[in-house]
């Protein structure tokens, strides 16, 4: 990088070059890009985490076909994704619309609404673990009102996944609410005024103005839920450790267990590659199928 002076006082433009971006680029390449290549390489090796990885060809990939737990964990991951979407999307959409609205107590309540954003995944998971404790927690006293007299949510094969989805949603609904709130605020009031003059009721306005105007945000938020749910692993590790049995063992948790508990890093790398592949494919698919990438503005309809 040299400090050049303009030649003969002319407007010789000096622009910042690659040097300025180099530290960030190199740093991210080392910790973000290279690992993707390395994990692919490791999936063809046998490595226990200590010595040197040993090339074993496609042995690990063959083992995938015989790993019933892996297929099971993929199914569980899918179920969890759907559950999370079903809980988070309608709730955060309505909350976002509400938080963008005119209510007088909105500011005070919003302060409370976003508080889960501040807590760490660990804090949230452990708090809910104690809340859902069938002996001392809230679950013990309130369980019977929701048809679970013994208050056992996390320890039940049938209910554990729902409980996990609920806790994860508690953590992430505020974030999605923020997205919807910001988007809802940008819907021009004039659209509602016109609808009002045409005699459209509130519900009608919501369906024909608010929802279409939030279309892009709904897609963006959904992509985040779907891709995010592939990585919810910390909450599950702390809440159920994948149990009872393997009832909540999602793919990333299965990878963690294989790699850092069973020290079969080679096979765990196969699962990691799968995770990258599924995540990327899913988000590309969602984005393509909805045509999101072709759109430029939420308010295209405005000018026409």
């Amino acid at each position: 990088m040299t400090l050049q002076t303009p030649v003969f006082g002319g407007a010789r433009r000096e622009r910042p070059g690659f040097v300025w971006a180099a530290p960030a680029a190199i740093f991210f390449t080392i910790f973000g890009i290279v690992p993707i290549v390395v994990v692919l390489y490791l999936s063809f090796t046998k490595w226990n985490g200590l010595g040197a990885p040993e090339w074993t060809g496609i042995t690990n990939w063959r083992a995938l076909a015989d790993d019933g737990d892996a297929l099971h964990s993929i199914r569980i991951t899918g179920q969890l994704t759907i559950l999370c979407w079903l809980i988070q999307t309608p709730l955060s959409l309505l909350l976002g619309v509400w938080a963008a609205g005119p209510q007088r107590n909105r500011a005070v309540l919003s302060t409370l609404f976003f508080l889960p954003l501040l807590l760490s995944t660990a804090a949230i998971a452990l708090t809910w673990l104690s809340l859902l404790d069938p002996n001392f927690g809230l679950a013990a006293s309130l369980g019977s009102y929701v048809g679970v007299p013994d208050g056992n949510f996390l320890g039940s094969d049938d209910r554990a996944l729902y409980a996990v989805a609920a806790v994860i949603s508690w953590q992430f609904v505020p974030f999605h609410t923020l997205l919807y709130q910001a988007a809802a605020r940008q819907i021009p009031v004039s659209m509602y005024e016109v609808a009002e003059m045409d005699g459209a009721r509130t519900m009608r306005q919501f369906i024909s103005i608010t929802l279409p105007q939030l279309r892009n945000t709904i897609i963006a938020s959904s992509v985040l839920v779907v891709v995010g749910s592939l990585t919810y692993f910390e909450s599950i590790l702390l809440l159920t450790n994948g149990g009872p049995g393997t009832a909540t063992r999602v793919l990333p948790l299965h990878m963690y267990v294989k790699g850092f508990v069973g020290f079969d890093m080679g096979y765990a790398s196969v699962l990691a590659v799968l995770l990258v592949a599924v995540g990327t494919t899913l988000s590309v698919l969602i984005v393509r199928s909805t045509g999101y990438h072709r759109m430029n503005s939420d308010r295209e309809g405005m000018s026409g």
Partner: protein
Amino acid sequence: MTLYTAARHRAAETRPHVTTTVRVRPPKGNAGRRNRPVNVAAGIAASFWLVIVAVPLYYIALTSLRTSDSYLTDGALVPPGNLTLDNYRQVLDLGFDTFIVNSTIVTVITMVLVLAMALPAAYAIVFGGTRAVRATFNTFLLGLAIPAQAVIIPIYLLITRLHLYDSLTAIILPTAAFSLPMAIVVLTSTLRDIPRDLFDAMTVDGAGTVELFRRLVLPLSRPGLVSVGIFSGLNAWNGFIFPLVLTQSEARRVIPLGLWNFQSRFGTDVPGLLAAVVLSTVPVLALYLFGRRQLLRSLSAGYRR
């Protein structure tokens, strides 16, 4: 949180002119807002959410002030006769102060690293525009989609080979790296708002790249820097997977791991655990009370237009 994909698609779109002209915000005060309909369903959702959020928070605060006996005998939400601060004292005695120090070190250094690397990069991306720089930007957009979980094994390999295992550096390096893509997306959009004419005028006056960075970019990028600082700081403070896999000893433990360890060692001491939860949130909560808008804006900065 590593849920970045959508931001990649949003950021890939061209930003400024179209949206700014149609971004009609209602004027402040009631006059402009009156015409926005009150949505009943949304109101119901809001009341529901209020209970769902308030009850656990009340539970955390209350239980952290209970005696262990009161926790075991009284109901979860019934206020006990006498409140106590003993849980907090006990948690600090058990080494939580070390975890707070570790988390603070990790958070501060991560923030500094991220800001120091991301701002010059965004500067080059916005005002440079050579092919190498554009390629860098695209790499970072791609990076938004990489989940940390998927590359944790090679990162573990890398950290052990660098002989950094079980050090705070081992946490800082990957945490900073995974905050970079979002940081660069946010700062790039901040810098795009700097009027081009201003830049050109200064270059004509003979300002070099360093001078432009110091006199133009640095002062005008403050809002973006604050956002990125908060975002990456919160990520570092609350991060779990890198400390989990890359550290081991108690001396290197950070708060989220400390919480987990406390829970697995003193499973029944829920009041102690929740006192630790409160302690872990105090700095963030203070930030929230003083600058709620700024903090919330920071958290969603990369995802909004």
